[in-house]
């Protein structure tokens, strides 16, 4: 499987092809003129960061969405899928990151749902269904009791069942959307073996994953999406990891610039005593042994690709995610783990990544949104005090330049940037010690972005400790005094001082050991000597 040269790729008509596909949502273009194809037996990596348009493309290919422009071709002929069922019937199957089967039903029922074998009476022939299911799974070397409810099986097996279902519907293309994100290493091996078998039978695979190692093992070709455009198509083998990552992030390796892109001024490392110490934060399948030390007045970047555990680390710190082990302390006092109120009381607050569903309360006013967390402090005997609220709300609206017609305006009417400022105001009203920012500038316009960036700077200068997660390389590099790079849930390396540049970060994100980065032991980051890091990433 590591040598896919024998595959029949590039010899046949593409089994599935998209030409000039464009998809818009209420004026926002999610896919723009995307052309892309996959041949029988080919395994294609579909790459791109959040918002690049991967999921939209997959939904177009599987009939969940209809393209506004462009056409799909199946075996060289124009086709269109009005709904998922059409795509399935035409041989385009999908397995998702989350197993999309019915957990309460048996393995066999799940495989044959909607197309159960029937006896002459029109009743379902369970005996045949079970033996068919068993035979099907055995083909891929999977032995499991097909009568068991799906939910009693390990996630890896469930994923395998989803795959068996996908393939058994005469699939000629199987789209895999992050299929390994919840699998154990052993289960991943089984999946890869099955992928090999499928390809040998001429089935094309479209593989979406953020795990570089997997991509390079399983796939032979790659299509990179960025901001809804196809930015690269080609073979994966002669594409260095660094280059792939830089294409995904939209940073050219050759022309790594410094300064001028963001509003950040030079960030300084601080030598004040640490305000936050996190030790060995771990949670199964999410993060493993992450330790951090954050000092007042410094901005620490958490680098990493999607799925590296960067958001999960913030969730662990802020009590949103229950940890399996590890501790967080503020000024030497341990914070009760897994409790948001405890973290807030201790002074740790988090700006969540998904502003719309986890941040703002959409139907409430700007005022109510700003004071939401601080309400008890701004009340007298349980009654809200408009005067106290106004004092806070007016200050923050002015200071953060939140553009509102009045504090009573409904927050969902605001632009993304102003909503984000409202969220920041909500937390500043709590006078926190540590501010965790998860993608603070995602989905907001350029002007607002600059404002948020300079605000982050300003807050750090005032002594707030800030942890910054961003998928924009320049934001992390220019905003942070040091950058802790995560990969697959663990700390890969830490960049400090002059090493905080785009090249080193890209190298670390790619996990390119040949590039030389990543020599530091995870967990010992704070004592590492920055001089140990090579500044030149690309060997």
């Amino acid at each position: 499987m590591d040598a896919p040269a024998a595959s029949p790729a590039n010899t046949d008509v593409p089994v599935l092809e998209a030409r000039g596909v464009t998809k818009r949502f209420a004026g926002v273009t999610a896919l723009s003129d995307v052309t892309f194809s996959v041949r029988p037996g080919e395994s294609l990596a579909l790459m791109g960061e959040n918002g690049a348009g991967k999921s939209t493309l997959i939904k177009v290919l599987t009939g969940v969405y209809q393209p506004d422009d462009g056409e799909l071709f199946l075996h060289g002929e124009v086709t269109s899928f009005a709904r998922p069922l059409d795509a399935q019937k035409s041989g385009v199957s999908t397995i998702y990151q989350e197993v999309n089967l019915v957990p309460l039903m048996s393995v066999a029922q799940n495989i044959y749902l909607g197309r159960e074998p029937r006896s002459r009476l029109g009743l379902i022939d369970f005996r045949r269904m079970y033996s068919d299911a068993r035979a099907l799974l055995n083909e891929y070397g999977i032995e499991v009791d097909v009568r068991r409810p799906l939910r009693t099986l390990a996630l890896g097996v469930q994923q395998m069942v989803a795959l068996a279902r996908a393939v058994s519907i005469n699939a000629s293309v199987v789209i895999m959307d992050e299929p390994t994100s919840s699998l154990e290493a052993r289960e991943v091996e089984t999946l890869f073996r099955v992928i090999g078998l499928l390809r040998a039978r001429g089935i094309a695979i479209i593989y979406v994953s953020h795990r570089m190692d997997e991509i390079y093992r399983v796939c032979e070709t790659v299509t990179v999406l960025r901001d809804g455009h196809v930015v690269h198509v080609g073979s994966l083998h002669d594409l260095p990891r660094m280059e792939l990552v830089s294409m995904m992030l939209g940073r050219s390796v050759e022309k790594v610039r410094r300064g001028g892109v963001t509003e950040f001024t030079d960030a300084n490392e601080s030598d004040a005593p640490p305000v936050l110490v996190a030790d060995d934060l771990s949670r199964k399948h999410q993060i493993d042994g992450i330790s951090l030390v954050i000092r007042p007045g410094e901005v620490v970047g958490l680098g990493g690709l999607l799925g590296s555990g960067r958001s999960e680390t913030l969730k662990g710190l802020s009590g949103v995610m229950q940890l399996d082990r590890g501790s967080v302390s503020i000024d030497g006092k341990t914070v009760r783990s897994g409790s948001v109120p405890a973290a807030i009381r201790a002074g740790i607050v988090m700006l969540p990544e998904d502003r719309k569903s986890e941040g703002i309360v959409p139907n409430l006013s700007v005022r109510d949104n700003i004071v939401l967390a601080a309400l008890p402090k701004l009340s007298r005997a349980g009654f809200t005090s408009k005067r106290k609220q106004d004092a806070v709300v007016d200050v923050f609206i002015k200071r953060l330049h939140i553009k509102v017609s009045s504090p009573d305006q409904i927050v969902s009417e605001l632009s993304g940037g102003n909503q984000q400022k409202v969220m920041i105001a909500r937390w500043l009203a709590m006078t926190p010690k540590v501010l965790l920012l998860d993608e603070p500038t995602r989905g907001i316009d350029v002007g607002a972005k600059a404002e948020v960036q300079s605000l982050i700077d300003e807050l750090a200068h005032e002594g707030l400790a800030i942890v910054l997660v961003s998928s924009e390389v320049e934001e992390v590099v220019e905003g942070s005094a040091r950058v802790i790079v995560l990969r697959d849930g663990s700390i890969e390396t830490e960049l400090r001082g002059d090493d905080v540049d785009e090249q080193s970060l890209l190298a670390a994100l790619a996990g390119d050991s040949s590039a030389g980065a990543g020599a530091v032991t995870p967990g010992a980051t704070t004592t590492a000597n920055p001089d140990e890091f090579p500044t030149k990433a690309d060997a």
Binding site: A26, V28, T56, A343, S357, G359, V361, L364, L372, S412
Partner: protein, 322 residues
Amino acid sequence: MTQATVSVSVPTRGSVLGLFQKYGVYIAIVLLLAYNLFFTPNFFAVDNFRTQFVQVVPVLIVALGMALVIGTEGIDLSVGAVMALAAAVIPLYVGYGLVPTLLIAILVGAVIGAVNGSMVAFIGVQPIVATLSVMVAGRGLALLVANEQLKSVTDPGVLSLGRDSVLGVPISVIIAAVLVGGVAILVNRTTFGKQLIAIGGSRRAAELSGLPVKRILLLVYVLCAALAAVAGVIGTARLGASVPSTLGNLIELSAITAVVVGGTPLSGGQVKVLGTLAGALLLQFISATLIKHNVPDAYSQIAQAIIILLAVYIQRGKARVK
């Protein structure tokens, strides 16, 4: 993910539908009153309005509590049973006067509400089933307490609730008015109110902002049941008898209708107290109009059913925007 949020953010504001979502209930009341002004003899008489207000009181009080629960994206089907239970305990405390009787009834209601609230907030049972089981058991308990008997209530303090007036305004109406004001203040002017609306608006955001979500949910169900208990006492006082077998039967339907018709969406995140008052009045005026025109009760039930469906159907667009 981003796409989904973008595609639904088209506000219905300004459109005719949006106008109806916002002011439908008030428009309907005005139209109905106008109709009665011209076509219903003796509708616009002080006596008639006094009767209408007295009759709407129990539904209104129950609906106030229901509005709080619905504001958190919940529902409480047990309110009728709580009324029955409150009615059942009254005869046990006859002779202590109005205030102790009222307090005991409220206490009983609060306990039932705590059962509902614990199931919903701490165990995570769907509100509809949690309160359904309490509805079944509560009515049975009420009948057990009353030994399945109808008892007349003779306590003059309790009876005054149903019969006496102050300056021509019936006491029960005054109580309802005070409660409307109280709940309005609670919703709009207290930390608790703001927090409960935030929970209904986005439970996830409320949790991430460190709000005591479970405690607030518990309290909301306690409050709802306590209000239902007050309605139970008033209902009993008006009848002059404790009738746990029928008091509050199907009141959950009328209360939910009043709340939804009043503009509080079933999807939570908003509580319209004045709207709820208007909703309850609208339902009352509709049935009064139908009665005065000798339309059989059957048709007013059908009318109410259609109104519920219409109101929810119109609200649906609003919920989607959220």
